[in-house]
Each structure stands twice: as C-alpha cells, then as structure tokens.
C-alpha cells in the first residue's frame, strides 16, 4: 500500500511516469545528411548492378563514369564552350515559353473563371485540347514556325499553359460565400470584387499552376528540340544518345534539370513573397 495520506488523485500524479516521446532516428539526423545518405545508397546499388553486369554496360554506364562526365560537361559549360551556348538556347526557349504560358494562361483562366461566356463556350474546347497529348503537336509547330527557336517556344508554351489556366480559374472560384456576400452588401463593383477579393484569394491556386507550368515548360522545350532539331540541349542529348554515349546523356539531363529547378525556384520565391499568409500543404510542398 502507498502512503495513506495521499488522495487517489495525488497518487496517480506521483506514479505516472511519462514515456519519453518517441523520436525516430531519422528525425535526429540533419536533413542534408539524410538526403546524401539516400543518394549514396542509390549510387551504391547502381554500382553493384553495374559490377554484376545485370544490364549491358553500353546501356548502363558505371556511376563513376557518369560523375566524371558530369564534370566534363560542367567544365565545358564554365569555359563558355558550345554547351553553354546550347544551354542558353534552351533557357531562352523555356523562359519565353513559360512567360507566354503565364500571360496567356492567366487571361484564359480569367475568361473561363470570371465570365459566363468563357465558362459556357470556351471551357469545353480547353478541356478537349487539354486531353490531347500536347507534345504530339511538335511536328506541326515545326512545320508552321520552322526549325528555329520559335517552334520550341510555342510547344513549351502550349504544354505549360494549361496548369496556369486551371490554377487561375480555380483561384477565381476559391472565394467563399460569406466573402462574396460581404462584398455585395458593401456594394463592390464586379471589378473590385475581382481585384480585391477573387484574385488575392486565388493566389495560392494560381501559384500551384505556375509551379506545374515551370516544370512543364522545360519538358515542352526539350521535346521540341528532340523532334525539331535546333541548337539546344535537347539536341545535344539526342546526339549523345544516338552515339550511345550514355554517361553524357545522364550528365546533360542533370544540367537540364537545373534549368527546371531554377525556374521553379524563382516561382517559389515569388510565391513566398506575394502570398505570405498562405500555409502550404504537404501536397504543395511536394512540388518544391
């Protein structure tokens, strides 16, 4: 028996030993270290597969050869050699494509989201076009706009525009019933409701669209280069692949992904600046 002077409540308090909060080992390791660990594991598995000759060495180069080539390409880029010029070509295509997609997508999104005309007449066509495999239009763009940069910009914009349309239109519909009612009782005009309520409320949706567009604009530009020639990075990849220079293909893809990451990073930075009030959900964080 325990001390009789204690009440039942006190007893419970005294005897309760709080279990230490369980912290998984992975939470105690700094994030960069865990990320590096995963990468090293991946490279190790790769190397083992390479050594075991499960896959032909022509198709799967050793990780060391690939890393060596990443350095070769890096040096080429840093010294401003032909690769830098071709990266610049692709960058231009991506930037122009992305910007066109943003502006066009915003206005189409406005049209579809805000006007009855857009929703009833334009929307069905957009849905239909969106369902098409958009990169299949590449040969058309080449025949219309030639083998230069214009056809790639067009494909890039075409592929990237739809998430912006969806994001803008969804954003315009995001304002809740009470907020709309409030604006109506205050007597706000349609323009005021759009600029002071619907667009700011829809900003998070708009930026989700932008983030998808940032990634897709690179896809569009590179596919355009695969199919329509030109001087960009896509062409370099195609040439390397046709010579079965697999390490080079990997290396070029790594640098190309930097381009996508950079565009993406600018969008995320802008988003943090502009919509400081919005807490991102896990799903949104996944795109970062």
């Amino acid at each position: 028996m325990t001390d009789e002077r204690k009440t039942a409540g006190e007893e419970a308090v005294c005897e309760t030993v709080w279990a230490p909060e369980k912290v998984s080992w992975i939470d105690r390791v700094p994030r960069p270290v865990t990320m590096l660990l995963l990468l090293l594991t991946f490279l190790a598995i790769w190397h083992v597969v390479y050594l075991l000759k499960v896959i032909s060495h022509i198709i799967l180069p050793s990780p060391f050869a690939t890393i060596a080539d990443i350095f070769t390409v890096g040096v080429n880029l840093l010294t401003g050699d032909y690769m830098l010029k071709s990266l610049w070509t692709t960058t231009q295509e991506v930037l122009f494509g992305f910007l066109i997609a943003v502006f066009l997508g915003f206005f189409l999104g406005l049209l579809v989201g805000e006007t009855d005309f857009g929703e009833r007449m334009v929307m069905p066509y957009l849905v239909a076009i969106n369902a098409m495999p958009k990169v299949a239009f590449a040969p058309l763009f080449v025949s219309w706009l030639g083998f230069g940069i214009a056809s790639k910009v067009a494909l890039s914009a075409f592929v990237a525009v739809f998430p912006v349309i969806v994001g803008t239109a969804a954003g315009i519909h995001a304002a809740d019933q009470n907020a709309r009612m409030l604006f109506r009782t205050i007597g706000a005009s349609r323009w005021q409701t759009l600029t002071m309520l619907k667009l700011p409320t829809g900003m998070p949706h708009f930026f989700t669209g932008l983030k998808n567009a940032a990634v897709l604009s690179v896809v569009g530009a590179v596919v355009g280069e695969f199919l329509g020639g030109g001087k960009g990075f896509g062409e370099l990849i195609r040439i390397a692949a046709s010579m079965i220079n697999t390490p080079r293909v990997f290396a070029l893809i790594i640098y190309l992904s930097m381009l996508g990451l950079a565009t993406f990073g600018v969008v995320v930075w802008l988003q943090r600046k502009l919509i400081f009030w919005h807490k991102e959900t896990v799903a949104e964080e996944l795109f970062e």
Binding site: D176, N178, A179, M181, R184, I186, G187, T201, W277
Partner: protein, 270 residues
C-alpha cells in the same frame, strides 16, 4: 414579466423613431416554387435591439438578404430611414458567423475595406485613425498591424465588428455573429456587443440560434416558424439595462427563456 406575445409590428414598451420598417414582406422563389417568407412585419426603432430566433431553414437568411437589399421581396415594402431599400445601402452594416477577414490585409486594413471599396484608397487612408480608435474600442489596441492568421476567433470577430462599424451604419444586421465561438468567448462578446451598441446608439437586428443570447441582448425577440417563414410570436424582454451575465441566473431571465422555448416548440409544428 413576460407580457409580450403579440403579433403587432411595434411591441409595447418600445419608444423612439422607427428606423427600419418591414411591412408585409413575402418572398416566393418562383422557379423552385418555394414559399420562403410570408408577411413579415418588423419595426426597429432607433437604438433598439431586435433578436430573431428560429430553427434552421426558417427563412432567416432570405429575410437578411431582403433586408440588406441583395434580394427583392415578392410582396411588401422595406424602408430604411424613410427610403425604400432597393440595393446595397451604405447605412447598413452586416456581420456573419465567420469573421471573413482577408489574410493579406492587416487588422486595420481589414477594418477600412468597406471605405476603400466605396470611396477609394485615399478615403480609406483618411479613415485609418478612426479604424484604430474602433480597434481600441473593442480591446484590440496593439493588434492594428497584425495579420488575421495571428488572431484568435474572438479577436477576428471583433475586427469584423470594427469593419461593420467603420461606415457608421444606422442599422446593424448580425447573422449569428458569435455562433462559431466557444461558450465563454461568446458570452464575453455578447457583453461587448451590448456596450458597443449602447455607445453608438446603434439599431441592431440579431439572428441567432441561441435563446439565452437572444434574451440577454434584445429588447424584443421574435420567434420565426418555418415553411413558410413567418413571425410566430414576438416577446418584449423587460430586463433592466445594461444587462449583465449575472442576469442569466435570475428567475425572470429563465422565465423568458422558457417562454421562447415553448413558442419555438409550438412554432415548429404550427
């Protein structure tokens, strides 16, 4: 004691100039053939507090939309300060269950929003001092530059009160303003509301689901019954002002609550 229970639009014991008058207001939604409101008569006198209570779907939101001028009645007239209400009016202030603050605006920026919409940015800037004074009035001094996501539910609702008051409306329409708050904050906000209404001699119309809230705040409580929405009974609350939370334990208060509860139970099956 409870001596109301009259169908007259102007219950006994209410003095003062009529501010808001509804006469025989009916609403039928033609397309769906729904008879939402039938012959609503209300008369809010200056500085009075009118509570309205009823089950959900009794046409309260239709009534509020008609009162704010967002809907036109099928029959009857709505007069505010002698002029018919035909659209959104500057002299009406409205508040909802949710604070509906905009997260990209600070508290004070949220407060001046109606001014900015009606009179532009410059007029809004001129109102910043008034807005700060209002925030001070509701006990939010020091929170002027804070964004809504840092405010508690009660604080946010107080900012919404300020936003409603900044235009100096003649009539306040409150649509279950504190029903999203917890019981303690709600009692506190009710007392705050009473103080603010008294300070500004505001004429107030409160829609609520809570009988105690209706009784403690109102001069008159109307009980609505559904399908079609109409005023089944009107009770004059003869408790001294200012009301305090302590009154909620008094027998006279309990008698009013009981009377209204009975009316509600009856009204639902009428």
């Amino acid at each position: 004691m409870a001596r109301g229970n009259t169908f007259s639009p102007l219950p006994a014991g209410l003095k003062g100039r009529p501010v808001y008058e509804l006469r025989g207001v009916s609403k039928t939604y033609k397309r769906r053939n729904v008879h939402a409101l039938e012959k609503i008569d209300l008369c809010l006198t200056e500085g009075s507090f009118w509570g309205i209570i009823g089950s959900s779907g009794c046409g309260k939101s239709t009534l509020l939309k008609i009162m704010t001028g967002l809907l036109s009645p099928s029959e009857g007239s709505v007069m505010l300060s002698g002029k018919p209400v035909t659209g959104p009016r500057r002299d009406i202030g409205m508040m909802f269950q949710q604070p509906t603050l905009f997260p990209w605006r600070t508290a004070v920026e949220n407060v001046v929003l109606p001014i900015e919409i009606r009179d532009g940015k410059k007029a809004a800037l001129d109102k910043y001092d008034d807005a700060r004074a209002l925030l001070d009035l509701v006990g939010l001094k020091g929170f002027e530059e804070v964004y809504p996501n840092e405010l508690s539910g009660g604080m946010a609702q107080r900012v919404a009160i300020c936003r409603m008051l900044i235009t100096e409306p003649t009539v306040l329409l409150l649509d279950e303003p504190f029903s999203a708050l917890d019981e303690l904050s709600r009692d506190f906000m009710d007392m705050e509301l009473q103080r603010i209404c008294k300070e500004r001699n505001a004429t107030t119309f409160l829609v609520t689901h809570s009988i105690p809230e209706a009784v403690i705040l109102s001069d008159v409580v109307s009980v609505m019954s559904p399908r079609p929405g109409r005023i089944a009974a009107t009770v004059t609350i003869d408790l001294p002002r200012p009301r305090t939370l302590d009154m909620m334990t008094e027998p006279s208060f309990a008698a009013y609550v009981k009377q209204i509860r009975e009316l509600l139970d009856k009204g639902a099956f009428l």
